[in-house]
């Protein structure tokens, strides 16, 4: 298993390195004047040139890239054009905020999705199954800001059950925070529900049909025990890897959700940076997102390896 994980970790690193090159190159395509952006449009040109020289934007690209990576690894993410402050000062709190929102979404969608898949599998090919699958498929493809708007109108404006902004007043307790995060998490739940339900359903259908299930039933175990003890574990294995890969879609959705619900997360940070052409923040934000995704994939692989005896015992 160690060998398997090492190989996966190595591949992740290569992928991340390639990503950093792509991100850095992408940001260099546009001629941006870091010094001018930092000092503002009315500052003297001499001061701008001096600042550019101090910050080393006139050095060869390869050297700048090396510096950027070295800085990144030691926690220096560069200076934001728009906020005239070090990026890490607001990027890390933003990441924490996004993590909270993603966590709420996960905690809702994983049980709901699995439950949906199980129910669908137990009533396979009957109307309920079809309904759940079509609903899941449709919910996945509807953009988050569309479902977000409908939810805001229904629950925020007309029924007034939930707040329109995901940002809670400073110092609010856990309950209030949850209250504010509930509505924004629902579009994310909708996006992921379909995939998870489908994987769980497929796993369940396969497991229900398998030899060991039939054996267990023949042995006299109740249907419920069979499902609980044998079927579920085998059904959930592929579901776990799906959850990890869906992290990518989750992060993409964060940009839109955080903008719509006025939430200071990494998604809205990337949005603001894109609009203000704040390349250092944009670069750092995108790379951080890539890292998060790579870590999530690795974690999913680890979990999968632990649960799959074939890999754990090293026969792969």
């Amino acid at each position: 298993m160690i060998g398997f994980l090492a190989k996966r970790a190595g591949l992740s690193l290569v992928t991340l390195w390639l990503l950093s090159v792509i991100v850095f190159a992408g940001a260099q395509v546009l001629p941006g004047n870091l010094g001018r952006a930092m000092l503002g449009p009315f500052a003297d040109q001499r001061a701008v040139d001096q600042l550019n020289h101090e910050m080393g934007t006139d050095r060869p690209l390869l050297v700048q890239y090396g510096d950027w990576i070295a800085g990144f690894l030691t926690g220096d993410l560069g200076q934001s054009y728009a906020y005239r402050a070090p990026v890490e000062e607001f990027l890390l709190p933003a990441l924490a905020n996004s993590a909270k929102l993603a966590l709420v979404a996960f905690l809702l969608v994983v049980p709901l999705g699995i439950l949906g898949g199980i129910v669908a599998a137990l009533k396979v090919n009957r109307p309920l199954d079809r309904a759940i699958m079509v609903f899941g498929l449709s919910a996945t493809i509807v953009p988050e800001f569309v479902s977000g708007i409908v939810l805001i109108l229904v629950f925020g404006v007309w029924l007034q059950w939930l707040p329109l902004s995901a940002t809670w007043p400073t110092g609010a307790d856990f309950g209030t925070q949850l209250y504010h995060l509930l509505l924004p998490s629902i579009p994310l739940v909708l996006i992921l529900f379909g995939y998870i339900a489908r994987m769980a359903r497929a796993g369940m259908v396969e497991a229900l049909d398998a030899d060991y299930t039939r054996t267990a039933v023949l042995k006299g175990l109740s249907r419920r025990t069979v499902i609980w003890r044998h079927v579920l574990r085998n059904a959930l294995l592929p579901t776990i890897s799906v959850i990890a890969t869906q992290t990518a879609y989750l992060i993409g959705g964060l940009v839109v959700i955080e903008v719509l619900f006025h939430y200071q997360g990494i998604g809205s940070l990337i949005y603001t940076a894109a609009n203000k052409k704040d390349f250092p923040t944009l670069q750092a934000g995108v790379l951080v997102v890539g890292i998060v995704f790579a870590l999530a994939s690795l974690a999913a692989d680890l979990l999968y390896a632990l649960l799959n005896p074939r890999i754990r015992l090293g026969s792969a």
Partner: protein, 552 residues
């Protein structure tokens, strides 16, 4: 009019020639009471004195009601995130200005009625030709660190701003007017300002209009954020960049302790979250809401909207040196396409005043009111286009910024010129991208064929007349070079009395209407929103928020 000549005579004694001339104007009816009060304040006359004169001339006095304030409580404000650190010398955006105004003050306040009111300066007066102004400072004003404010502090503060090496935004006001070293201490409470050229409106250059001109201790060495030492009604408690700040009452404030115990400012990325916070009861005051975003609040019964008349406007420029705008008839024709009353009523929901394509807003006393207001006239516009040889139409690109209602205004202009065969392509840029480097050749704002730029409020039109329109102006996006215009503006700026100002204004207005390098369709109000029950809030159209008398 029942004129009490004996009283009047007594009051007149010892007044300067300019002041007497103004009083003559009031007596003869050439100057209205409001204009008299306002212009008198520019000349440095105190309000009570002006009131006495007005009374002596038989004009009814304005009734002022002192607000009965309840003590205590924390007032929570919402503003947009300051773009940079809170540095009085460099600050330029609303979030920063509002924060600064809690702790630091200027010599003069440019108030809601455009009158110049004394703050840290008690009184002021010009010399004979308006090239030297003498300011008398208020006594007993203490900084937050206990030190008393004297002329040394004023000299140091203003010199710091006039110094080109410090790159302050105040230079846009001081360049060509006041140099470093031209501010001189006469005694501990008197300061003289020696101007480069005579300027009849100089006190505004030291007012809240010039938001950097706060008075700091002479030994201020930078790093304002750590302690924020100033003279304001509140002292810094805590400052967290990008997040918020809190202030406590300054018990030693020269104007008496404020009713509120504390002020809390929260910084928001956009206007919408501020509005949601107000509706949700999380903040008490939003310093500025644009009409478009705040349209839902206008009818909300739990919200009070304070409308501060301002001379802020969206300036449309047309490059007079490029096709199709080279011919001034084309420019006039385009200006005639706009339905201005509809813009004011529909786009700005009535919270604006009509503009007449010159910086002379009707709110300014020096504006010549006899100049006719331009109205929509498609027939005349078509005639002009035909005379200019463009009856077949024209095409151009309008480049502008995503800010407030400007994108919507651009679409309305685009639609309006269709009636004379005009095709406008809109290029919308982010605000930073639109300003670019703010120098000719490197800025869509200054280089574009046609554009719309946001201009903030000014208590007097001097800046509006110079920077965007004079031949040597640094903000001249229309590339307008007209020697007659330059001459008239210089006369206007030097004029010390209201009537000659107005005479020059009339000439300038007529010249600009004829040449039409700019379209200024409306001057919009500055809107501040408060929760019902909050009183005594005094906003300025520049971004300051004076809470010295505010209470919940």
């Amino acid at each position: 009019m029942n004129i009490n000549f004996k009283l009047l005579d007594a009051l007149r004694r010892g007044r300067s020639e300019h002041e007497n001339h103004l009083i003559d104007g009031l007596v003869a009816g050439r100057v209205s009471r409001r204009e008299f009060m306002r212009h008198g304040s520019v000349l440095g006359l105190s309000l009570p004195f002006l009131g006495s004169i007005a009374a002596a001339v038989g004009l009814p006095a304005a009734i002022s009601r002192p607000a009965r304030a309840a003590a205590g409580g924390t007032i929570r404000l919402a503003q947009t995130v300051p773009a940079a650190s809170i540095d009085p010398v460099k600050i330029a955006d609303g979030g920063g200005i509002t924060t600064l105004s809690q702790v630091a003050e200027t010599l003069v306040l440019s108030g809601a009625d455009l009158a110049a009111q004394p703050v840290l300066a008690e009184s002021w007066s010009p010399n004979q030709d308006g090239s030297v102004w003498t300011f008398k400072l208020r006594r007993g004003v203490k900084f937050h660190n206990g030190k008393e404010m004297t002329a040394d502090d004023v000299v140091a503060s203003i010199d710091r701003l006039a110094d080109p090496d410090n790159g302050s935004n105040a230079l846009s006001v001081f360049t060509g007017m006041l140099q470093k070293g031209a501010t001189r201490k006469v005694d501990d409470h008197t300061v003289e300002f020696h101007l480069d050229v005579a300027n009849g409106n100089f006190p505004y250059a030291l007012s809240t209009d010039n938001y950097n001109a706060v008075i700091l201790p002479a030994d201020y060495a930078g790093d304002f954020e750590s302690q924020m030492i100033g003279t304001g009604p509140f002292k810094l408690e805590k400052y967290a960049a990008k997040v918020g700040a809190s202030f406590v009452r300054n018990e030693a404030y020269w104007g008496g302790p404020a009713p509120a115990d504390r002020i809390e400012i929260g910084y928001y990325n956009d206007y919408q979250p501020q509005i949601l916070a107000l509706q949700g009861g999380q903040v008490d005051v939003i310093q500025q809401i644009p009409v478009l975003q705040g349209v839902g609040l206008l009818n909300d019964p739990n919200v009070e909207i304070i409308s501060t008349p301002s001379t802020a406007h969206q300036q449309v420029h047309m490059r007079v040196d490029l096709d199709p705008f080279k011919d001034k008839r084309v420019r006039r024709a385009i200006a005639l396409c706009l339905d201005r009353p509809a813009l004011v009523k529909g786009l700005m929901k009535g919270k604006a005043l009509l503009g007449n394509d010159t910086p002379f807003a009707s709110a300014y006393p020096s504006t010549d009111p006899t100049v006719a207001q331009r109205e929509k006239n498609i027939a005349e516009a078509k005639q002009l286009m035909e005379a200019a040889g463009l009856a077949g139409g024209f095409e151009t690109t309008l480049t502008t910024e995503k800010y407030l209602e400007i994108p919507d205004f651009a679409v309305l202009i685009q639609n309006a010129v269709k009636e004379i065969g005009g095709k406008i392509n809109i290029n919308l840029l982010d605000q930073g991208a639109y300003y670019g480097d703010a120098v000719y050749g490197n800025s869509p704002w200054l280089d574009s064929d046609m554009g719309i730029t946001d201009y903030g409020h000014r208590g007097v039109p001097n800046v509006f007349l110079s920077a965007p329109l004079k031949s040597d102006g640094t903000w001249n996006s229309a590339h307008f070079h007209n020697a007659e215009y330059d001459r008239l503006v210089t006369s206007y700026i030097a004029a010390l009395d209201l009537e000659s100002q107005r005479e020059n204004a009339g000439k300038i207005q007529r010249l600009l209407l004829d040449e039409s390098p700019l379209i200024i369709a409306y001057f919009y109000d500055f809107l501040t929103a408060t929760r019902k029950g909050v009183t005594g809030v005094q906003p300025t159209a520049m971004g300051q928020l004076l809470l010295g008398k505010a209470s919940l």
